[in-house]
Subunit: 341 residues, 2 copies
């Protein structure tokens, strides 16, 4: 099947007239963020600015189809910009050299040599990276954690993505799979996690956790859930974390309480991370952060209440991510220019 | 009071005849491990061998009295060896430069500039370090974790000491207080910890935890606790982790079960650390390791059962520490020769 994808090598040998200011931005990179539902691609300059962006639906789980989509996006974006390298961020574990996808939960990659496949097709250097690592790198380079020497980033989406930056390097562990903070067991025997365990942090502090708790509240037919049920026309299954976040921002007390609970779990887990890692700062991003201070205020409270040694140590500040949903593609692009040491 | 302590400067300017092979070991260091009950000091060569050792009772909590004991130990050991530097390991938090004790749970040090006090008294370079960091350094340099690029060390005593080595460096965090693995909350609302929280890991996987569980079993008047009660002549308060460890080694089934439970908690907490840190190896030391495989076997089982992503990643091996109770002083001595970068 891969032979059906046309490599872009012919295209890259010509300087095309549409190239925008190649002299001013000689080192443009494309970052591609592959999610379970969407693929986002953007041209990113050395200051972290996104010059152009495209989005596609994720074309199922077939690796060849995903590769074809990547080639299409690079080809399209490459028409107007001279692209030096391509960075791919995806949920999953990459080997330490950024060559192979060891495992990806939402895609069918298992020991997939994606990098060499793509370098052949794109005729440019390619770097694979974990999506949470990419987002953390972007926040460290251009965002809320700029220049911090010990930075922990938490990305709150359906689950929890995690990454740590130490002395300007993503700390990826011995086998490249560090930073899975969402799978610290924080409640033995607790809610089942898709990782196979029970009681993982992401079952308590994520968009999925928020939705599950809200549905449980609604099913209990509590009068406090009235507004929530009204918002989904009585369809309990339609209650998601995003619905609750929106209702909380509109002032619904039950939704605010639900987010407060999630914030408490968020702060407790961060206190655990501070005990182990002692970062200088936490940056919290991801979709759930649409809730803003409704989430962060209780998180900070629980963090302060559970930080071991509180009163005898500085408490790391907890900041909202600055780059929003583009952090992943910005970081992937930038990492392709700054391959990890 | 400090003026009562005589500095050793006069002594160090003479080459005394008792010096043992100064040419062969030009870089001897003294390591001093200050515990809540004992101070251990030893002369350590560059291969990590302890050439001489002394022990004293910890002289209460007064910093000046502890300093006097240190001077006495260095003076005594210095009679037979030419000592280039002195390393001090103690439970507590040191600042990143190794100059000041920020906080020590068992001693009265609070923002104590111990290093400059001691350098004045000892007339030699002094390095302060956390006792768990010192033990980990020793295991990495000379023991079970030799040369590992990502090593996590767990010291199981009354509580849990933790440290991580990354690329040959102790990772101490932004404020120097990383590695407090024992205070990850692993059971919200669980047993009260002396750190002020509830449910810390060290309340479930430590010598204290083992003793507490055994006393509870004995108080429940369970017939399975017969052997345990016999060993302490019916005095429940005399049941400690050390008593249970000894009984388990003699084959008492209840004591073996109690250690098995502690091993389970140990493995669960290590799985949490593996999720976050992805080390290449764990080294487990400290007094509780007298239980050997009675502890490690259930720990490995629980680790394997709770490791997130198991089956899709390598599982770090879990090894017993090799240097025993001298690891702290060996590491403190060696760190005084190899000050952290």
């Amino acid at each position: 099947m891969s032979s059906e994808i046309s490599p872009l090598c012919g295209e890259t040998t010509t300087d095309r007239p549409e190239i925008v200011n190649p002299a001013e931005s000689p080192n443009l990179a494309i970052g591609i963020d592959i999610g379970g539902t969407k693929v986002a691609a953007g041209v990113v300059d050395e200051q972290g600015t996104v010059l152009a962006e495209l989005r596609r639906q994720t074309p199922g789980r077939d690796p060849r189809a995903v590769e074809a989509t990547i080639v299409e996006l690079v080809s399209e974006l490459g028409r107007a910009y001279r692209i030096a390298s391509v960075g791919i961020g995806a949920a999953g574990w990459m080997d330490l050299s950024g060559s192979t996808v060891l495992f990806s939960p939402h895609l069918a990659w298992r020991n997939e040599p994606l990098r060499s496949n793509l370098e052949r097709l794109l005729c440019r250097p390619v770097m694979l990276t974990n999506d949470a690592d990419a987002a953390a790198w972007a926040e460290w380079r251009f965002g809320a954690g700029r220049g911090e020497s010990r930075l922990v980033c938490i990305t709150l989406g359906t689950g929890i993505g995690g990454a740590m930056l130490m002395d300007g390097r993503i700390e990826r562990g011995q086998f490249g799979v560090a930073g899975e903070f969402g799978h610290q067991v924080i409640m033995p025997g607790g809610h089942r996690c898709e990782c196979g365990n029970r009681g993982c942090w992401e079952q308590y502090a994520s968009g999925n956790a928020l939705g599950r708790e809200a549905r449980e509240l609604a099913r209990a037919k509590s009068p406090v859930a009235q507004e929530i049920l009204r918002a989904v026309d009585g369809d309990v299954e339609a209650i998601t974390g995003a619905v609750i976040t929106e209702l909380a921002r509109q002032g619904d007390p039950a939704s605010i309480e639900l987010i407060d609970d999630v914030g408490g779990w968020l702060g407790l887990g961060m206190a655990n991370l501070a005990a182990a890692l002692d970062p200088g700062m936490f940056v919290v991003g991801g979709g759930l952060c649409e809730a803003g201070e409704l989430l962060l205020e209780p998180a900070r409270r629980a963090f302060g209440r559970n930080l071991t040694g509180r009163g005898f140590r500085p408490a790391a500040p907890i900041a909202l991510a600055a780059l929003g949903p583009r952090a992943g593609l910005i970081g992937a692009a930038d990492l392709s220019r700054n391959p990890p040491r």
